[in-house]
């Protein structure tokens, strides 16, 4: 383990309800200050992997049965989610999960409580989030349930950021959003990464955008890592382009080509 890696996942297996397999031997390492992506189709194990890392898997009757996860020297499997958040590991859930009945300001405040901030700290924290997301500042007294999808995604990210995390797990940030909004959100992720050194591990079905904004990516299939590499290289690989970017060597991908790719991966 290199000293600079903030997250190290070692060969984890996850089961739900003691029977259903969610992840089968996933290993990955994230150097501090980087953006890594998990790509894959529905049910490939992206969300399961993120929830195993944040400890939320236990709230959904899931369990990491073997392997280990370390975040900044802490044994994740021995910590509860609240302790992990206070150590700087925050997950932004798929589907935003804003507190619909609370207004924008209150949503952000709740995110800050884990640090037990003073009133002045809390005010500074809120202002910092509102400079990153001016749109939220305009709507600070609106109930979160009435925000647009993009605003809710910003709120969910802001609520995670106000806890001053070192690593943010971002699950499907692009889901259901218009292309311009998706770019806006990913630009903010990049800014946070550059300006504040926050590391990101993001799960995305939208492989094109994830590969554009990440340094490194892992491709998940059936709960296993089917391939990894620097994002720029993956974006050029024919098999990745065929299966995840929808571009075949001769144009559009066909189902058979994708099948061929899958069977080739399995022989490795």
């Amino acid at each position: 383990m290199t000293t600079s890696s903030i997250l190290r996942v070692d060969n984890i297996h996850v089961i739900y309800d003691q029977v259903i397999l969610g992840a089968r031997g996933i290993s990955l390492e994230l150097p501090e200050g980087r953006i890594h992506a998990l790509l894959g189709a529905n049910g490939a194990g992206k969300t399961t992997t993120l929830k195993a890392i944040s400890g939320l898997i236990r709230a959904e009757r899931g369990e990491v049965t073997c392997g280990s996860i370390h975040f900044a020297g802490h044994d994740v499997l021995k910590s509860d989610p609240a302790a992990l958040v206070s150590q700087g590991l925050v997950q932004v859930l798929e589907g935003r999960h804003c507190f619909a009945e609370l207004d924008v300001d209150e949503n952000l405040r709740v995110g800050a409580f884990v640090r037990t901030p003073s009133r002045a700290d809390l005010r500074r924290g809120l202002e910092r989030i509102y400079t990153y997301f001016p749109r939220l500042a305009e709507r600070r007294r609106s109930r979160a349930g009435y925000l647009s999808g993009g605003e809710q995604q910003m709120l969910a990210i802001g609520r995670a950021l106000i806890a001053s995390p070192r690593l943010v797990l971002l699950d499907e940030p692009s889901m259901g959003l218009a292309p311009q909004i998706v770019i806006e959100i990913f630009e903010i992720v990049r800014r946070l990464n550059h300006e504040e050194g926050v590391s990101f591990l993001l799960a995305e079905q939208n492989a094109a955008i994830a590969l554009r904004y990440s340094d490194h990516a892992h491709i998940l299939e059936n709960g296993r890592i089917a391939g990894s590499g620097p994002s720029a290289e993956l974006a050029e690989r024919d098999d990745v382009r065929a299966s995840y970017l929808g571009i075949g060597a001769e144009g559009r991908r066909s189902f058979r080509e994708a099948r061929h790719y899958h069977s080739r991966r399995r022989e490795h």
Partner: protein, 293 residues
């Protein structure tokens, strides 16, 4: 007209007493989705402990403080010992667990303090007072005042404090609260403690009104229509539901009782509740989920 007003206002004031019990349910239901059937037993346990301490020579406030301590310990024990191990189980399992707990508390109370009926004197005489030609019970007015203070205190807790905001976040989306670093189980413990406190207040008022006896735990059954009408997840709803039930049953008894028969008061609230279930199942103020389409 004066007679009508007298019945109406008397009913409204009596309804506040139902609200006090219903609020205890709402708190726990809102924060953890558990329908705590044991709330009635908690009311009984509080009243019985208080009255037994007073009979053993405790002064009012020291008996109050000791009972409060006992209620907090009881609430903590139920949350920690029964509900926490059952977390993520289906709601019916949790409900059955609280039903069991309810009988255990009643048994324990009986074991500790015996089964006889006690009178409870709060120093407020239950005598009518004349307000502009309308006769009202002094005790009911006092109870309504206490209820108003209680609701004010709760709403300040929810809107002005960090613990209150955390509590509302857990009620809104438990998974997101967990992901945000809220210690959800600590919040549940707080909610149970507050419900224990509300149970104590309700226990003293109901005990003073009916005498402290085992049928006191049956006030839960009157809280049910209040909850169905007001909605399970709103304190304001519990108040309004209580008012509707209180006024409804008194008016029904006085005006329809002679035609339909005595005892209408006892089952009329359930008729109202059934009507609400048919027309507006979430209750007047029940959680209407905000959903973007």
């Amino acid at each position: 007209m004066d007679f009508f007003l007298e019945v109406l206002i008397g009913g409204l004031l009596a309804g506040i007493m139902y609200s006090m019990v219903a609020i205890g349910f709402v708190l726990i239901y809102k924060a953890s989705g558990v329908f705590n059937f044991a709330q009635g037993s908690m009311v009984l346990f509080a009243a019985l402990t208080f009255v037994s301490l007073v009979e053993r020579g405790f002064a009012f406030w020291s008996a109050f403080a000791t009972t409060l301590g006992a209620m907090l310990a009881l609430a903590w024990a139920i949350e920690r010992g029964v509900l926490r191990p059952l977390v993520n189980r289906p709601p019916i399992t949790l409900f059955m667990a609280t039903l069991g707990v309810s009988f255990i508390i009643e048994g324990l109370a009986q074991l500790l303090w015996g089964a006889q009926v006690h009178g409870l004197e709060l120093g407020i005489k239950d005598e009518p007072i004349d307000l502009g030609g309308i006769l009202l019970s002094r005790f009911d007015l006092f109870a309504a005042g206490i209820a108003a203070l209680l609701v004010l205190a709760l709403s300040l807790l929810f809107s002005r404090t960090r613990i209150g905001l955390s509590l509302r976040s857990v009620a809104s989306d438990p998974l997101a609260a967990l992901a945000t670093g809220i210690r959800v189980q600590r919040i549940w413990a707080v909610v149970w403690a507050v419900a224990g406190f509300v149970g104590l207040i309700a226990g003293l008022l109901w005990g003073a009104r009916l005498g402290v006896q085992f049928s006191l735990s049956l006030v839960v059954l009157k809280a049910l229509p209040v909850l169905i009408i007001g909605g399970f997840s709103s304190i304001g709803g519990a108040i309004v539901g209580g008012l509707i039930v209180g006024a409804g049953e008194k008016l029904a008894e006085v005006y329809a009782g002679p035609v339909i028969g005595d005892g209408l008061e006892n089952w009329f609230p359930y008729v109202l509740a059934l009507l609400f279930l048919l027309v507006r199942p979430a209750g007047l103020f029940g959680q209407r989920t905000i959903e973007r389409v």
